[in-house]
Amino acid sequence: MSTATLSPAHPTTPAPTRASREERRRGETRPAWLFLAPFVIFYLLFLVWPVIYMFIASLFNTSLVRTGFGTFTGLRNYAEMLTLPLFWQSLGHTLVFTLITTIPLVILAFVFAVLANRVLRAQWLFRLAFFVPFILPSAAIALIWSFIYSPTTGLWNSFEAAIGIAKPSPVLATPSLALLGVAITTIWWTIGFNFVLYLAALQDIPRELYEAASVDGASQWQQIRSITIPLLNRTTTLVVLLQIIASLKIFDQVYLMTAGGPGNSSQVVLTLVADTAFTNYRMGAGSTASVLLLIVILIVTGIRELIERLQQRREG
């Protein structure tokens, strides 16, 4: 790697291959950066700089109606956010939402994938049913589900009335149900992604393993427990992490279906960020809330990295 120390003015170097390799390497540096430049410029402009800007703005009372950062306020935005009950409520709702979506989204996706992998027939039907919603716009999903949830005459309340519930509550207009309603919509909408990840991993498990096990008299359930689940361990770690992060950054469904309401009963961190920054024009405080959410997400990623390492150590 000490290429710089060797001067090219050594015609008597005994290793011509090495010299030519060095020359080639020097010749590759310029084109390499030219190839990288367009992407790296965009990466710096729209990923690195926004992160830095967000941290700086979180220390100022930056406003949408003024240019520049405004005046330096130190950690005052953080103090404000961390003592604001609405921030903690939003964070709490975000965590609850993450919990009640991640568990069913992982378990159901696993079950659907295992079953679909066994059945082998009519795969197109399951792809159509489970996967297609995932590639549709959240706005279309929100229209469909808000309509299903519409009070009294909507499909869900009518169903409840039909099975004998005397006075069904309007899901999205009841504080204790709104977030749950959004969660059910989310489970329906996004299960396809996890389903496809599990299905891809299942297809990598050699059939012979199952055949050998069934020859040995292992029941289907035993096969799933002692072959499928352990071999899908790493996929499950990945699915859980991707799902947790996807759920933590929830915005679309809440913004479209409940706008954080009724009251603030379904307010989540990103809708609070949007309200603070774009409705109240307080970019600094909005940045602070974003920074705090980013920290939560990075902690989750860090924990996953740890688990991954432990798994590798146990396997190797």
Partner: protein
């Protein structure tokens, strides 16, 4: 695993003895490799469960389709009226398509998605080519810095990205939707992974013939990478087409609304025209359903690949 084969063969009779009931009639001897009777009933149970769930999953979409085909007057009366009225009509669709808004939304979504996809594929594959094929100081550092980027969800950056676009006066232009979505780190990773697996013989002989890196990339690597380019293009297209948060805040001009932003206004502006609301949702989803029907396998593989590598 190989040692299980002879052992299994010697006890092959054992599971057969356990077979009882209806499925005992199955001629097990003809298909020794197939799962036994417990397997067969398991398959039946799996099948039933799966079809049940699939139907459950289809209900919301079917309900939206049915509502969109029912006259507004009936839909306003509620679920039972929608279920009872089978005088289907395309009225909601013709109203929407005649009003023109939806066409403008389609155009905005198409322009922003296509341009973003082109830039993501071009710049992403170029960067991946450099990282996969060229040796240069700082290569690991660049790679590591890009990995870090994967951990930052773009939604979290909406406030600073808005400020940045505001500062350079790009708000309310399509560039405000396109440019921030160009640095897709996942695309670079998927491309790099694919390039790493390509044989290098062609490239080396092309290089010996005096072809530069650009020509090697353009006329050898890219043509060999058609499947991954297609998969990444579709995955990116879906993501950009469906993006709500970015266009919602950087485009305030109603003439520039993309499909998701347009649909977000429908609930408020259509009021009691419930069939029209559902029809607009269907129209917004339609291009992606068509895309799915054409590229089924590519889409599924593309998403599975982008997840596994992410």
């Amino acid at each position: 695993m190989a040692s299980q084969q002879p052992a299994g063969a010697s006890v092959r009779d054992t599971p057969r003895k356990h077979r009882t009931g209806v499925s005992a009639a199955a001629p097990a001897a003809q298909a020794p490799a197939k799962p036994g009777s417990s397997g067969r009933s398991f398959t039946v149970v799996s099948w039933t469960l799966l079809v049940l769930f699939a139907v459950l999953w289809l209900i919301p979409s079917l309900w939206a389709v049915k509502t969109s085909l029912t006259p507004n007057g009936s839909s306003a009366l509620g679920a039972s009226a929608i279920l009872r009225n089978w005088n289907l009509t395309l009225g909601s669709y013709t109203t929407l398509l005649a009003s023109g808004d939806i066409w403008r939304w389609y155009m905005a979504s198409a322009i922003t998605s296509v341009v973003t996809v082109a830039l993501v594929v071009l710049f992403g594959s170029m960067a991946a080519y450099a990282l996969s094929r060229l040796r240069f100081p700082g290569r690991r550092l660049v790679f590591g810095a890009l990995i870090l980027g994967i951990m930052i969800p773009p939604q979290v950056l909406i406030v600073p990205v808005f400020q940045e676009l505001n500062a350079v006066h790009l708000l309310n232009t399509f560039w405000a939707v396109i440019l921030p979505q160009v640095p897709s780190v996942i695309a670079v990773f998927v491309f790099k992974q694919f390039f790493d697996g390509l044989p290098r013989d062609f490239e080396e002989s092309a290089r010996l013939d005096g072809a530069g890196f650009w020509r090697t990339y353009r006329s050898i690597v890219l043509p060999l990478s058609r499947p991954v380019v297609a998969a990444m293009a579709i995955v990116t297209f879906v993501g950009v087409w469906n993006n709500l948060i970015l266009p919602l805040f950087v485009l305030s001009n109603p003439k520039l609304m993309t499909i998701p932003v347009g649909l977000a206004t429908v609930q408020g502006s259509f009021g009691q025209r419930l069939s029209d609301i559902q029809a607009s949702s269907i129209l917004g989803a339609l291009p992606l359903v068509i895309l799915f029907l054409i590229f089924q396998r590519r889409i599924v593989e593309g998403f599975a690949g982008s997840g596994l590598k992410g």
